[in-house]
Symmetry: C2
Subunit: 701 residues, 2 copies
């Protein structure tokens, strides 16, 4: 770490060079907290693996122990030498921008191409990347044939090749695992983020990773490129307030949505190329929770868990799909029941003798809302469980299938009632009133829930207990992949932590693990951030935008001003989200994504549906009908069916005509592909020549 004159190619790497207890310990990239009841020799065994050499299945990482009171769970700080990180970056095929500005896989031997002649190798990897690398190595410590079970726990058996850290998290022996914030970078980022007009996407990516950066890029693009123009047109429509221009406005709306989603796909591919994630496929390295028999991977030849894709498909279509469909149907029935009850009560309320007051009439809606909230919590667990059981290979696939399940349910719960009002009651005023209420409630409640509430809670909890941090950490969700998409299992966390004092009574078996300096600020930080909420991934953020998108576009024919409210909300939303991420949550582990996954499809589906609903709304709207009194009802309906089909046709043509990737990205990818194909040809030719030189030539024909 401190020796500046290292030649990067030829010298043999000595992984113990920084393991001297006197040398300064590099920044903590991952904090690991163990259950207080855990037997010390299991910890010692794991630490041996974490520090041990690769040849013995170790991870060659650096470990320090934090001072803890006896009876408390052990807390470890895991780090790695700069050299080790770079080597692992090469192993993980991390893509970095070289001096020529091209994104390509980092090669240790080419270090100079990436950092330049004057650059320092310390600056090459961002802290987010270092944390990702360390986490990846920890997850990759796999059980050997001599480890049938965790020491001290003969019942917690492991099969060869299983990820030990995953087993220990699953068994609640490890209670938490999280990276630490980098106070200085965070300060710089948050200042830029709160006050600049444009979202600093690249800085967000470097600090929080691609998934979070892509969400903010999407939010920004959606707000500025779609909502802003439509809000202006919507206000204009409001001012004109004529029914003659409403169909025109609606058609503009649905076409704008289609074009926006196609252009966004291009943009997202552009980003994915610039971020080096565009080549991610479902055949990439599996996520830690993926299980299967250890076999040679067909693609890479590495020893990896393998699970037949066919089984996953069967589970998806034969088990999960029917269950989800039944759930959706039940949700729909509950909604109908609530409407039915309300109708009955309204009728009864007209009769003064029935004893039904106008307050009682509201009961079904209230009960329905509470029911939806509760059922939603259970359904989320069910969806996560099912998707976990389907056993998807990559994190992106897992996320996609989980999001599809959740979004379908949310859609039914949120929009079915509105559809019912629109097309069964055909009460446009009630629909408009409902829309306005829900849109405003949505934004007020969400922003309060996301930022104001936690802030108040924190202030309140600050007053009574000065060493606040250990007290507030109680039950927390530990995600298995550093993201909300994880297993959703709940572990009981630590309830008390150290107070920076040195206690001698450390078990003998743990004496070999060096302790951090007593005054090291990281110990306090580890406890404080451990007490913070876990950022559950971008799901909730996207969901919020998705529901708003539905409100604005599904019913724009009755409430054209929705775009304006949505615009105002989003301008605030992005700041609230930024604040939330920087100040309220534990630092999330960076996650690489190549696109918005299932959300792209969900938005597209709503886009298509908005054509149907808007045509339907215009068709049933009485003022529109009055404009064409000569047509018979059937003719009138057929007119609108024709318009709808025409718009669907336009949508299809636009979808086909706008290429998914910009030309320059296609050319750049083709170039890379061509170069690597050429290299393979050369390599093969070379091999052949070598072998033919060794063996005597034979005539061929």
């Amino acid at each position: 770490m401190t020796s500046p004159e290292v030649s990067f190619v030829d010298d043999v790497f000595d992984f113990t060079d920084s393991e001297d207890a006197d040398a300064p310990f590099p920044p903590t990239y991952m904090v690991v907290r163990f259950a207080s009841s855990l037997q010390p020799r299991a910890i010692a065994w794991l630490v041996d693996k974490v520090r041990g050499p690769r040849s013995h299945g170790g991870a060659e990482l650096l470990v320090r122990r934090q001072h803890t009171e006896p009876g408390e769970g052990v807390i470890l700080h895991v780090s790695a030498s700069c050299r080790k990180l770079l080597e692992l970056a090469e192993d993980m095929e991390l893509k970095k921008r070289d001096q020529a500005g091209l994104m390509r896989e980092f090669l240790f031997a080419h270090l100079r191409d990436f950092v330049g002649e004057k650059g320092s190798r310390e600056d090459l990897l961002t802290t987010a990347e270092r944390q990702l690398i360390v986490r990846h190595e920890l997850d990759n410590i796999r059980a050997l044939s001599e480890d049938p079970s965790i020491p001290g726990y003969p019942n917690f058996r492991m099969y060869e090749g299983q990820s030990i850290v995953q087993v220990m998290m699953h068994r609640a022996l490890i209670t938490a695992m999280y990276p630490l914030h980098d106070e200085e970078s965070l300060k710089r980022l948050s200042t830029k983020w709160y006050y600049s007009k444009v979202q600093p996407i690249e800085d967000i990516r470097l600090y929080f990773g691609e998934a979070v950066a892509l969400y903010f890029k999407f939010l920004d693009f959606y707000t500025i490129k779609l909502l802003l123009p439509l809000a202006i047109v919507g206000v204009l429509q409001m001012v004109l307030s004529t029914y003659e221009t409403l169909p025109f406005f609606c058609i503009c709306n649905v076409i704008a949505v289609t074009v926006f989603l196609e252009v966004w796909r291009r943009r997202s591919n552009e980003s994915a190329f610039q971020w080096g994630t565009i080549g991610m496929t479902s055949l990439d390295e599996p996520r830690p929770n993926f299980h299967g028999t250890m076999m040679r991977d067909t693609v890479t030849g590495r020893l990896l868990p393998q699970f037949p894709r066919r089984t996953t498909s069967i589970r998806m279509y034969c088990v999960s799909l029917p269950i989800v469909v039944v759930c959706l149907f039940l949700a729909f029935l509950v909604m109908l029941a609530s409407f039915y009850a309300e109708e009955r009560l309204t009728q009864l309320a007209k009769d003064p003798e029935s004893g039904v007051t106008s307050l009682t009439v509201m009961l079904p809606s209230v009960v329905y809302s509470i029911l939806v909230y509760i059922v939603n919590l259970y359904y989320r667990q069910l969806a996560t469980y099912l998707t976990e059981w389907e056993n998807h290979r990559t994190q992106s696939q897992f996320e996609r299938h989980r999001v599809i399940k959740l979004v379908a349910f949310e859609f039914v719960n949120t929009f079915m009632a509105l559809f019912y009002i629109a097309f069964v009651y055909q009460d446009m005023d009630m629909l408009r009133y409902q829309l306005a209420t829900m849109l405003i409630i949505l934004q007020v409640v969400n922003n309060a829930q996301e930022a104001v509430l936690p802030l108040v809670m924190r202030c309140l909890s600050k007053v009574p207990s000065p060493p606040r941090v250990p007290e507030s950490s109680s039950v927390r969700t530990v995600s298995s992949a550093g993201d909300g998409g994880g297993s959703g299992l709940r572990y009981r966390g630590l309830t008390r932590a150290s107070t920076n004092e040195l206690y001698p009574g450390v078990p003998e078996v743990l004496q070999g693990i060096p302790e951090l300096e007593p005054d090291d600020p990281r110990q306090r930080q580890a406890l404080a951030e451990g007490a913070m909420d876990v950022y559950e991934g971008t799901y909730d953020d996207y969901l919020e935008v998705f529901i708003q998108f539905g409100y604005v576009f599904l019913f724009s024919a009755v409430y054209p001003q929705a775009a304006l409210w949505a615009l105002l909300n989003n301008l605030m939303e992005s700041r609230v989200d930024a604040f939330k991420l920087c100040r309220l949550f534990q630092r999330p582990l960076a996650r690489r994504v190549k696109d918005t996954g299932a959300w792209q499809r969900a938005f597209e589906a709503v886009g298509a549906m908005s054509i149907m609903t808007n045509c339907g709304l215009l068709c049933v709207s009485p003022p529109m009908r009055r404009l064409a009194p000569d047509l018979s009802p059937t003719q009138w309906v057929l007119r609108w069916v024709a318009v709808e089909h025409l718009l669907m046709g336009v949508r299809y043509v636009l979808h086909q005509a706008i290429p998914d990737k910009p030309e320059w990205v296609r050319v750049a990818l083709a170039k890379l592909n061509y170069q690597s194909k050429q290299a393979l040809r050369k390599e093969r030719a070379l091999k052949r020549r070598m072998s033919s030189r060794r063996s005597p030539k034979k005539p061929l024909d």
Copy 2:
């Protein structure tokens, strides 16, 4: 050619080794016929280039001259040594199956991996591939800076890098260029083809190339996997003849079509992988007719014509699209006019004094049919011209955009009248009658036109003139890319040819080109096949299937038996097409394709439309209406709109759920990609090490 002991890697290639006039001339791979008026020195100049060394822009091919009478156009036979062909195969990145069964790019240095220890290198390349290679080399003879124009034609100017052969074809100096049939292989293939139950797709591919093989694979798959089951169900429906089961039958139909098209896409990708064409992109080597400024290609670094993609897009959307839309609209108007005229005449015919007989009533239909036929010919030229002007880079793109234009027009002409009968007249009996007539006419006329007519013509022309071949060759279409997609320019061919006699009066400048032996049968063959019709590509064959597909599925609600007729027709059709290709046409140049291009989309569009039309037909059908007399007309219409939307939803879900490529293809492609990426990494690491060894090491930080 005759020396068996050649080591394939190290010895220097001497391209003149087979150019000895006494050595046997290898099989003719390409016949080039020149205009009779062409100045001999232009021919001599071209032949010099064809035989000349690569270093001077030559093609290093072998050339023989055919005996011709003075005043007739010169005919050249072009061939290449086996070694040269293999080298060119490597240059063209031709994919071959190696001994391990893997498709990979052929490498000359790896010859033994492909042919095995005992195999002969002569057998590696099929005749189709050899012809393709030779044609590719001929097209690739490009004008040098010292060739401002064709010798003897100072007005026929060329820019540097232009394909000389293309210029000479464009200027009608070369009147024809075609490969020859391989009588022995053809006999073997045709026997297998006519009599075996399953289409010998692999043999077809080896002889006719991928485009033709894919067409037959599609026809086979469509007939067996879609039409056969539906014909059975259709007959069942006919037997039952109840209106209650008709909707069920229709729903089966449209879902079957959707599944069929998705599964076909998988199959076609499977074939493309096995044939090594799956990696074809729009950034591949441009087709010969592509023009632009000569520049270094961004992807490969080769000197190739470059043309901005943006200009092509602008031309497509701002010029071609409006023109095509106007044409479609005009065709629609003409159809309406024909219907209007017929209606008027029918009304007049009721009045006996008007002088309008029932024969006159048929006049509009007859005039309309003739008009459609004539306009179609012009429109085809227009579409070809527009697509040529759009200047697409690859042959596949060119084909795709030409087919889209043509199919849209054919669709309007063929189906609009039926839509009019179905939804404006709502006369189901008339529709059924029309469908049956057109379906039977289609298959009788087509089969007659394709096989019987040419056969009769040939027999007739055989009787009067024993040396029949030169007589019948008059005006022929020369396609610029060996396929119907070419420029469509017409050249006046040769009118008389040699009678195997030796004539001395050959111009001095051509004396250097050795002549074929006087008794060489190839001379007769070249003339005979030159007189045959040119196979214009698979367009007409696909179009026939497409129109049939439309008849069967767009209106299956009124005529469920259509599938049966289509099935019977197709069983014959594949034999007729086989006969046509083997016996009636000039051998087409093999063309590589990765999918059915625009046809996939066209069939999918009709599949989607069939949902609409069938729902519409059931909705307007009076017997169906009688089944639900309680519903109001509007309710009835809305029911069917709902059913239609539901089916569209099912279609979308199926489209999303069925992956485009089978799992094994995805894995195999990922493996190849991984291997080449690894090779590139190694290569880069190696380079870096070499350069760092040469320069003194510098410290980095």
